[in-house]
């Protein structure tokens, strides 16, 4: 790791105001950093806070109830958590861009895709019409849309799901942002199209040096893409490390259970029982003072229910928040 990461998040807490009582924290004390040109995957099941984390980096939390309760989000020496709305408008798209799961709902249905991409260049760089259009066209070529000249004047509904996601990526990258935030970008796509889009993101990353934060629930996508991985559960980071550290020695019981529950990682082979994780993710108001995973954990002891395990460094860059995580020697033979 370099001394000066591109993005560093320190103690981020996302809270929602509640009509009867104090605000409820949906993400708590999240800290991570992202280096230039790196891919960080944030993994977890629905409700773990991974999308809220992404939205707070863009300062797009649902208003008026969602807010950044505490923490700093430092991007190139500036704190996004406290930046003004005017500053944020300049940062979005130019410093940090986001693509979403369902491109159809994120594209404007009544504007051609050419004009939607051009608009980005016009707003951020103030170029004239022709130059903007040219940049948009170049971008469509870069994301490998067939017949880009003709497609420029198409509306979103005329494109397939995979093509729309390519347009989203073109729009996100047209102003050369430092960071691309991708929230489940391939979840709505078929496997062969998913493979195309992941390959495209990988390829563009190498070409432009953009750092990528990829949010996903699929460890297969993580294995394919990640340099580093952060696993979240019930609003907290429970394990993080390099992709190799995490896949070689998954340490938190939740990470282990999640991998074992996926048919793909099932070592026993087909037609055997999958490992189940009993119960479901606790709701926001049901999270106690101890480890959030304790009620579902096979290893849980009294201590786990009573106090929250801190994130402890195990080896290299691998850290785990579990009272039962052994010493590094035990885990890395």
């Amino acid at each position: 790791m370099t001394d000066n990461p591109l993005l560093s998040v320190d103690g981020l807490t996302v809270a929602f105001s509640s009509p009867d009582g104090p605000p409820v924290a949906a993400v708590q004390e999240l800290s991570f950093s992202l280096n230039a040109g790196e891919t960080l995957c944030i993994v977890g099941e629905s409700g773990c806070g991974k999308s809220l984390t992404a939205l707070s980096l863009m300062r797009l939390l649902p208003r008026p109830h969602g807010m950044i309760g505490a923490g700093r989000i430092m991007l190139e020496g500036r704190d996004i958590a406290t930046a003004s709305e005017a500053d944020m408008r300049m940062l979005r798209g130019r410093a940090i861009s986001m693509i979403f799961q369902e491109p159809m709902t994120s594209l404007n249905p009544v504007l051609t895709i050419g004009s939607q991409i051009s608009e980005m260049v016009k707003v951020h760089e103030g170029l004239d019409e022709t130059a903007c259009r040219q940049r948009a066209l170049d971008m469509l070529k870069l994301v490998r849309i067939p017949e880009p000249e003709r497609r420029m004047d198409d509306y979103p509904h005329q494109l397939s799901g995979g093509m729309r996601q390519r347009v989203m990526i073109a729009m996100a990258l047209v102003c050369d942002p430092k960071i691309l935030l991708a929230d489940e970008p391939t979840t709505a796509l078929d496997v062969t199209i998913e493979a195309q889009i992941l390959e495209l993101i990988q390829d563009l990353k190498q070409r432009t040096g953009t750092a990528v934060i990829l949010i996903t629930h699929d460890f297969g996508v993580v294995a394919e893409m990640a340099d580093r991985v952060l696993v979240m559960y019930a609003g907290r980071q429970i394990e993080q490390g390099t992709a190799l550290e995490l896949f070689d020695a998954p340490t938190h019981p939740y990470t282990q259970a999640l991998m074992a529950a996926m048919p793909r990682f099932n070592a026993e082979g087909a037609q055997t029982r999958l490992k189940e994780i009993a119960g479901i993710v606790p709701a926001l108001h049901e999270r106690g003072q101890g480890c959030c995973f304790a009620p579902r954990c096979e290893k849980a002891t009294r201590h786990c229910f009573d106090s929250m395990p801190p994130l402890r460094l195990m080896a290299g860059e691998h850290s785990v928040a579990c009272w039962h995580a052994g010493s590094p020697q035990e885990r890395h033979p």
Partner: protein, 327 residues
């Protein structure tokens, strides 16, 4: 799977097609046909799981619904345990539904939000007058326990259950009349990974206990691989390859199957490699390409592929493929 010659298979589907007519535009009389399901044949053995995979728009859900007679087949034959049900009237079909059930993808939209969970699961019993009220009650309690729900949750409404629990309700309802065949249309696709494992295990346990046959429709190859005995791969309305699980994953023959398997994300970062990705999107089933429907995207296509449709030919007892280039 039963080896007795005398027992007909749970399901026998022969040359089944479902074509939809698209309304022509105001100015032309030309009618376009959607070949949603086109000349599909397969059998489903007793106590067997046949996985049906393919990408969106390949017709796998329409095939499931056609077999259920929820949409009317254009041509072909469907036999349920040896009985031809293709031409039965809606009235006659009702009785057959005791043996042929379905589990849908979205457990929320397939449960009536105004009915209590116990009523939802018990409705089939009432409809078919199975036993006295007390017996039905007992059966409902048994079903709740069997699928891993607490019998006291019978008073709750669907919105009070989590996604996985709702899918358990859907399974309990399908199970109520003791069916021999269940068609699962993406039954675990909407669920989180940890919950998905619970539901897959439940479905496999039920199969062991009651010898139910599953037609398991899904797009996730790793799930299908886990649960299926045999797997059929669909592309644009047709089955392009049909084989036992092991055969299909170890010796995929059709170029589309190969591409589909290659597109599955890996399970360890050390396995990263340059992938052969398919070019282009799935074509439209409206007036699909002549010849082999995959030829436009196929990396190996030759002249004959665009002219003649390859039939599904058996390579061995447990492997059939529809490709001109496989000999």
């Amino acid at each position: 799977m039963s080896n007795q010659v005398a027992t007909p298979p749970a399901l026998d589907v022969v040359n089944l097609s479902k074509h939809y007519e698209l309304a022509g535009s105001w100015f032309s009389n030309k009618q376009a046909l959607v070949y949603a399901v086109d000349d599909v044949s397969f059998t489903l053995g007793r106590g067997e799981t046949l996985g049906l995979v393919g990408e969106s728009g390949c017709g796998k859900s329409t095939l499931g619904r056609t077999i259920l007679r929820l949409v009317e087949p254009t041509s072909g034959t469907i036999r349920l345990e040896g009985e031809d049900i293709t031409a039965l009237s809606a009235q006659e079909m009702i009785a057959r539904r005791q043996r042929l059930q379905v589990i849908f993808q979205d457990p929320y939209s397939s449960l009536n939000p105004r009915m209590r969970a116990g009523e939802i699961v018990g409705e089939p019993l009432t409809n078919f007058n199975r036993g006295t009220a007390a017996e039905q009650d007992e059966r409902i309690a048994f079903l709740f326990k069997r699928v891993g729900l607490r019998p006291d949750q019978r008073q709750n409404f669907p919105h009070e259950f989590s996604g996985g629990q709702r899918q358990r309700l859907g399974i309990a309802r399908a199970l109520a009349l003791g069916p021999s065949v269940i068609i699962g249309d993406e039954p675990v696709s909407a669920l989180d990974v940890s919950v998905q494992a619970q539901v897959i295990n439940l479905m496999m346990d039920l199969q062991d206990d009651y010898a139910i046959s599953y037609l398991f429709i899904a797009h996730d190859l790793s799930v299908v691989r886990h649960i299926s005995h045999r797997i059929a791969v669909m592309y644009l309305g047709q089955i392009v390859e049909l084989a036992t699980r092991q055969e299909l994953f170890e010796r995929p023959q059709h170029p589309y199957t190969q591409a589909l398997l290659a597109a599955v994300p890996i399970s360890h970062p050390r396995d990263r490699r340059k992938r052969i990705t398919l070019k282009g999107d799935v074509e439209s089933p409206i007036n699909p390409p002549a010849g082999c429907r995959f030829h436009n995207r196929c990396p190996h296509a030759v002249a004959v592929c665009s002219q003649e449709r390859p039939p599904l030919r058996p390579l061995s007892q447990d492997h059939a493929v529809a490709c001109h280039l496989v000999v």
